[in-house]
């Protein structure tokens, strides 16, 4: 059958218009993060890191135009749930990301991923979502909650401490933290204290700590809580006799700026440090300092890496980014140059990476973290075996 040339041309034009239409539609990325209240500096760092990557690529990731929807959850579970529902149902986002706190993550992620939306966590990594309740639509670019604490448990044991006092807030990440520390720490526990999330005054806890006479303290208190505790601990005159250890969350760049000399000499573990010597990080740290006027914290690097991961995945799938299955497979490949160095996903789509130890030092007129050594290489989280995927 001969198709008239006119019909053929019309069909070609229609096909061209339709494909141009598809190419022009932007990818919608929903970011729910904490931009106000006690833990705001974490969410702000994640957002700034992510936005830097998008800005560098002129509003695109992987050649696709990106439309960011950034909403503040105020560290409240109800807010996060409402915003997530709105983003999935009304705004129809293609990818969701951003949540800082594990209690909010546990409330939002299972529902969102079950509904068919891909979620990439730039921070919270609760153990349940890495193990029994892992899901093909859920990726974690940062770490599993226990990881940095496991590294510190190993480090503290290696340094010879036998009697350690533990402190963390009473919420999923706090419990994960102390569980992770105890998994690799060999000695005795002088005390294990769970404080209230958002607590400001630690005088009572510090007095109890002194009475217990440990030889070291390991504490996980992110954001404003870390600032309060470290200041009060130093004022109680304990820093010289009982050294402080913690994950990077207790000593991030924002906390150090607010605490100053009170944190000097403490050690913390992290998968990232702004002085890591690889080409991607050298460029990132310099650009971040230039754009925002501060050194990038691990949260900023996590936000940036999330954007880079999406960039690599979008480059692979191109216009088919709305195909969840294709996008998922592209994301799992993780073919991007992470600013922390080597990066790959395990079977539960959580990172397998190196964890370093850093010391807080004075650098001219600022207090900052300095890379001191490596604790783990190719470290995988403890829950990967419980995940049924692949």
């Amino acid at each position: 059958m001969r198709v008239s040339p006119f019909i053929r041309q019309a069909l070609a034009m229609t096909a061209l218009c339709v494909s141009v239409q598809v190419l022009a539609e932007p990818a919608k990325i929903g970011m729910i993060t904490t931009l106000s209240g006690g833990g705001a500096s974490l969410g702000i760092d994640i957002r700034d890191g992510f936005e830097l990557a998008v800005k560098e690529r002129n509003g695109q990731l992987g050649g696709i135009d990106v439309e960011m929807m950034i909403v503040d959850d105020g560290r409240k579970v109800d807010n996060a749930k409402q915003i997530a529902t709105r983003m999935v149902e009304r705004d129809q986002v293609d990818v969701m990301t951003g949540i800082v706190w594990s209690n909010l993550a546990m409330a939002v992620i299972p529902g969102v991923t079950a509904d068919g939306t891909i979620y990439i966590s730039p921070n919270a990594g609760p153990s349940l979502l890495a193990g029994k309740r892992c899901h093909p639509n859920y990726f974690n670019v940062a770490w599993q909650n226990d990881n940095l604490h496991e590294a510190m448990g190993q480090f503290v044991s290696d340094q010879g401490y036998q009697n350690v006092y533990l402190m963390a807030p009473n919420y999923p990440a706090g419990k994960d933290a102390l569980a992770g520390f105890k998994r690799f720490y060999q000695g005795d526990i002088a005390g294990e204290v769970y404080t209230k999330l958002g607590q400001v005054d630690y005088a009572a806890e510090i007095a109890n700590l002194r009475a217990a006479s440990p030889d070291a303290v390991f504490f996980f208190l992110p954001g404003g809580m870390g600032i309060n505790f470290t200041k009060q601990y130093s004022q109680a005159g304990l820093k010289a006799s009982i050294p402080l250890f913690g994950p990077a969350f207790s000593f991030d760049e924002g906390i150090l700026k607010a605490v100053g000399d009170a944190a000097l000499g403490t050690m913390n573990t992290s998968q990232y440090s702004h002085d890591l010597d690889n080409p991607a990080n050298r460029e990132f740290a310099a650009k971040f300092m230039e754009t925002y006027g501060r050194k990038p914290s691990l949260y900023a690097s996590q936000g940036y890496d999330t954007a880079l991961l999406l960039d690599s995945a979008f480059q692979l799938v191109g216009a088919d980014f709305k195909d969840t299955e294709k996008l998922r497979r592209a994301l799992a490949k993780a073919e991007f140059a992470s600013v922390r160095g080597e990066f790959r996903f395990g079977n539960n789509q959580h990172p397998i990476q190196s964890i370093y130890v850093r010391e807080v030092i004075r650098d001219g007129d600022t207090v900052t973290n300095q890379l001191k050594g490596t604790v783990f290489t190719n470290h995988q989280d403890a829950y990967a075996a419980e995940c049924q995927m692949k």
């Binding site: 006690g38 209230k196 005054d201 007095a207 404003g224 009060q232 004022q235 109680a236 700026k257």
Partner: protein, 304 residues
Amino acid sequence: MLFLEQLLNGVQLGMMLFLMAAGLTLIFGIMHLINLAHGSLYMVGAYVTATVSLASDSFALGLVGGCLATAACGVLIEMLAMRHLYHRDHLDQVLATFGIILTANEATKMIFGPQALFLNPPAWLSTTVNILPETPYPAYRLFVIVAGIVVALFLRHLITHTRIGMLIRAGATHREMVTALGFNISLLFTLVFALGAALAGLAGGLAGPLLAIEVGMGEQILILTFVVIIIGGIGSVKGALVAGLLVGVVDTLSRAFLPTVLKTTLPAASADALAGSVSSMAIYILMAVVLVVRPQGLYNAYGT
């Protein structure tokens, strides 16, 4: 020894709460105004004290600057917003002052940025003092306790022995009579609001070296402050002092000793988790008990 140290911690927390509650109870008692923005004034005090202390290298100057700036903010808020709310429903007052909280938080973020500010106590207070044998206690916390006592004495003198104090007490119960006698009641209200604001600013300035100076710091202490004035009796500064100390001590002692007490009967992990939850409820249980036994609070309003 540990018990005495924890008791001191409780007293110090109580003094901080008293400073906040005194201002709030005066405003609520005298002007019948629910002021949710009291926490924002506390935040302003902390931020200004930090900025002035860092710029001038003097903590004393920072405190003074913080008080004055907060009093000035108080006057501004009173003239622009509060004046129109005196005759309105409590719910309207809550809505309006909640709006002020949101505005203050965003304004602070715009002026100072989202990161927390950094303030250390002055060098002569950064040491520890052996007030009890073998118990070094942070000198700065002792300073806060002393400051609270000084303010309490000052307020008592102000309210019972001065003309202004007499006007405050009279204006609370017989507003129209005071106006009829020729006193400018609206100026009085502005003064009381400024005094309340200055107290909140002082509390914020004193809290600066201890706690993180960040946006939203006022909301955390505001809830405790409301609990204190409900327990103490609305309008009574003496009630604010007694209730403040009570709340501070109960909260601190429950956090300090409940885990140990529970560990005698429960396994360690559950004891810790349960203790954490119960101790954060302790002050609300106290408030509930007081409301059942004596609903108007421990002390009558407009007392000393």
